[in-house]
C-alpha cells in the first residue's frame, strides 16, 4: 500500500487541466468496435398491488440486479458501487445512452459511506456554488422514487441548525440570505419558534450552550439510504450496466497520459474511462493512476438508539455541540457527529465518541437520558481543505474523480451522478460542477464550505 501512495510523487502536471474533448466516450463505438448488449430487460413494476400479489404467491422474490462474469472491456469503468458510482452509471445509461459500463466494488454494494451515512438531505449551504449544486440534488431526490420505480422513503420534515453563540448566529443569517438569493427556502428563527417545532429541546437560557436561534430549512429531511443505493443499482441494471461486487481494483494502466485499463483481483479490463468514486479510499485509487489528491481520510462515527414512538419531527443539528439527531420512520434516533480527531482508515468505534455524543444529546434534549444506544459504527470520509468536493477530469486523460465528499456526500449522490455522467459523455465539465475542479487548489479558488458543511447534516 505504501508505495502506491507515493506513486504520484512529483507529478505536478496532473494537477492542471480539466477534461478535454478527447475524453468523450462515443456510445457503442468505444475502442473502435461496436458493442452489443442485450435488449433492456424490463423488470416487473414495483407497486402495492404487486407486493401483495407476490407475497401471497409464496414464490421467491426476484433479484433486483444481476451478477455477471467480468468482461474484458468496457466503455466506462466506475470504481466504487456506492450512491455516487451507481448514480453515475444510471445517468450515463439513462441520459446519454452509454450502457457498456461496469461498476466495481471491492466489497459489497453500498457497503462504504453510502451504507453508513445518516442520510440527511438539505441544500442550505454557504456558498452560491454549493447551494445551487446541492439544491439540484434535492430536486432529483424529490422525484427519485418515481424515476427509479423504487420507494426511497424521502421524508421532508424540516432541518434546524442551532446557533449557540453570536458568531454562529451571524453565519446562520449569512447562510439564510445566500439561500434565499438562490431560491432555497431557509430562514433564521428564534427560540420560541424552535420550541414549537421541537418541544423536547431545552431552550432555557441557563444551559452551558444556550440556544439563541436556528437556521430553519423546511425542505430538508431524511431518506432511506440503502433504498437509494439499491434503487440506482436496479435501475442501472435495467439498462445493462454491470455491477461487480467483490471486485477490487489493484492497478490502473496509464500510457501516454491516457487511461488504458484497470487491473482487478478478478482479471484485467480494457477501458478508456475510469471514474473514481471511492470516498475514503480515493487517494489510494487515484495514486494508481499517478494522480495526487488534496484529501485526507478521517473516520466519522454515528450511532442509533432503540426505536421509540415518533416524537422528533425535524432534523436537529448543533455545530457547537458536534452532534445531529433525526428520528427514522422506524422510530430509532440516528446520531452523527464530526469526524474523529485524527486521520485513520480504521472503522473501529470508540467509547470516547459514545460518551461525548451522549453528553451533548442530553444537553440538547434532557428527556433522552433514559434511552439506550443500539449500536455505533464508523465510516471513512475523504476530507478536502475547503470542505467542498473534487469533481471532473484530472490531467490524466480518461481518469475522472468524484471524490472529496467528506461528511456530506450522500445528499449529493444524484446531482453528482448526473454531472459526472454528462462530464464523461460530452468531455466537457458541466457548469454546475465547474467550481469543484481539482485545479482550484493550484489556482487558489477554494470553495470554503466549512461554515455550512462541517457538522451540519
Amino acid at each position: 500500500m505504501q508505495d502506491l501512495c507515493c506513486a504520484g510523487a512529483g507529478e505536478h502536471a496532473h494537477w492542471a487541466a480539466a477534461a478535454t474533448g478527447r475524453n468523450a466516450v462515443e456510445p457503442a463505438r468505444a475502442n473502435g468496435r461496436r458493442t452489443t448488449r442485450p435488449a433492456p430487460r424490463r423488470p416487473p413494476r414495483y407497486s402495492a398491488l404487486a407486493l401483495v400479489r407476490h407475497g401471497l404467491s409464496g414464490k421467491e422474490w426476484p433479484r433486483a440486479w444481476r451478477d455477471h462474469p467480468l468482461g474484458t472491456s468496457y466503455d466506462v469503468v466506475i470504481v466504487g458501487a456506492g450512491v455516487h458510482g451507481l448514480a453515475a452509471a444510471y445517468y450515463l445509461a439513462a441520459n446519454h445512452g452509454i450502457t457498456n459500463v461496469a461498476v466495481l466494488d471491492k466489497s459489497y454494494l453500498g457497503g462504504g459511506g453510502s451504507g453508513r451515512s445518516t442520510a440527511i438531505l438539505r441544500s442550505n449551504y454557504l456558498t452560491p456554488e454549493g447551494v445551487r449544486f446541492y439544491d439540484r440534488s434535492m430536486e432529483l431526490y424529490r422525484t427519485l422514487a418515481a424515476d427509479l420505480d423504487y420507494n426511497v422513503m424521502f421524508s421532508r420534515r424540516g432541518h434546524l441548525t442551532l446557533a449557540h453563540n453570536d458568531s454562529s448566529l451571524r453565519t446562520m443569517r449569512w447562510r439564510a440570505e445566500v439561500n434565499k438569493l438562490q431560491g432555497v427556502d431557509s430562514e433564521l428563527i428564534g427560540p420560541a419558534e424552535i420550541k414549537r417545532l421541537v418541544p423536547y429541546l431545552d431552550i432555557s437560557p441557563d444551559t452551558r450552550y444556550p440556544i439563541l436561534g436556528a437556521l430553519y430549512h423546511p425542505p430538508g429531511g431524511i431518506i432511506r439510504h440503502d433504498a437509494v443505493n439499491w434503487g440506482y443499482a436496479r435501475a442501472a441494471d435495467v439498462y445493462g450496466v454491470q455491477i461487480h461486487q467483490g471486485t477490487e481494483v489493484t492497478g490502473i494502466d496509464v500510457a501516454d497520459g491516457r487511461v488504458r485499463g484497470v487491473r482487478t483481483n478478478r482479471g484485467d479490463i480494457a477501458t478508456p474511462v475510469v471514474l473514481n468514486c471511492t470516498a475514503g479510499w480515493s487517494t489510494l485509487v487515484a495514486a494508481m493512476a499517478g494522480v495526487r489528491l488534496p484529501i485526507q481520510t478521517f473516520p466519522l462515527q454515528a450511532a442509533v438508539t432503540e426505536p421509540v414512538r415518533p416524537f422528533l419531527h425535524s432534523v436537529v443539528v448543533s455545530g457547537t455541540l458536534h452532534v445531529y439527531v433525526s428520528q427514522t420512520d422506524r422510530g430509532e434516533l440516528v446520531f452523527g457527529a464530526s469526524v474523529d480527531p485524527f486521520a485513520s482508515y480504521s472503522t473501529r468505534g470508540s467509547l470516547e465518541f459514545a460518551e461525548g455524543l451522549a453528553t451533548h444529546v442530553i444537553e440538547l434534549m434532557p428527556a433522552l437520558s433514559k434511552m439506550r444506544l443500539l449500536r455505533q459504527w464508523s465510516g471513512l470520509c475523504d476530507m478536502t481543505p475547503d470542505f467542498s468536493p473534487i469533481m471532473g477530469g484530472t490531467g490524466v486523460d480518461g481518469f475522472y474523480v468524484d471524490v472529496g465528499w467528506g461528511t456530506y456526500g450522500f445528499k449529493a449522490g444524484p446531482v453528482s451522478g448526473e454531472a459526472m455522467a454528462e462530464c464523461i459523455a460530452t468531455g466537457r465539465t458541466p457548469e454546475i460542477i465547474a467550481s469543484f475542479g481539482l485545479d482550484r487548489f493550484g489556482e487558489g479558488r477554494l470553495v470554503g464550505e466549512k461554515g455550512a458543511a462541517a457538522v451540519g447534516h
Binding site: M1, C5, T297
Partner: protein, 84 residues
C-alpha cells in the same frame, strides 16, 4: 481506549493528545516553487499503513513529538521530538 506513547510521559489515553498532522518539513520560503508550496499546504500522503505524524500532548507535558502510526490498525510508536 487507544493508548499513545508520549516520549516524556509514557503511555496515555489518546484523548489527552492533539493530532497536528502528517510530519512534513516546511519548505524554504525563499526558494520554494509555488507547486511545491501548494503540495506542502494541501496534499497529504494519506497512506493506509504506517505514516510519521506530529502530535501534541495537550493534557500532559504540552510538548510536540513525532509518532509513527499505522493508519489501518492505529498501532503507534513515538519516534522522537517534533518540529514545533
Amino acid at each position: 481506549m487507544m493508548l499513545i506513547r508520549c516520549p516524556w510521559c509514557g503511555p496515555r489515553g489518546a484523548a489527552e493528545f492533539h493530532y497536528i498532522g502528517e510530519f512534513k518539513p516546511r519548505p524554504d520560503a525563499q526558494s520554494v516553487t509555488s507547486a511545491d508550496w501548494r503540495d506542502y499546504l494541501y496534499v497529504p500522503a494519506n497512506p493506509s499503513g504506517p505514516v510519521t505524524e506530529t502530535w501534541y500532548h495537550r493534557m500532559g507535558c504540552r510538548r510536540f513529538f513525532n509518532l509513527e502510526r499505522d493508519t489501518l490498525t492505529n498501532e503507534s510508536r513515538a519516534v522522537g521530538e517534533g518540529i514545533r
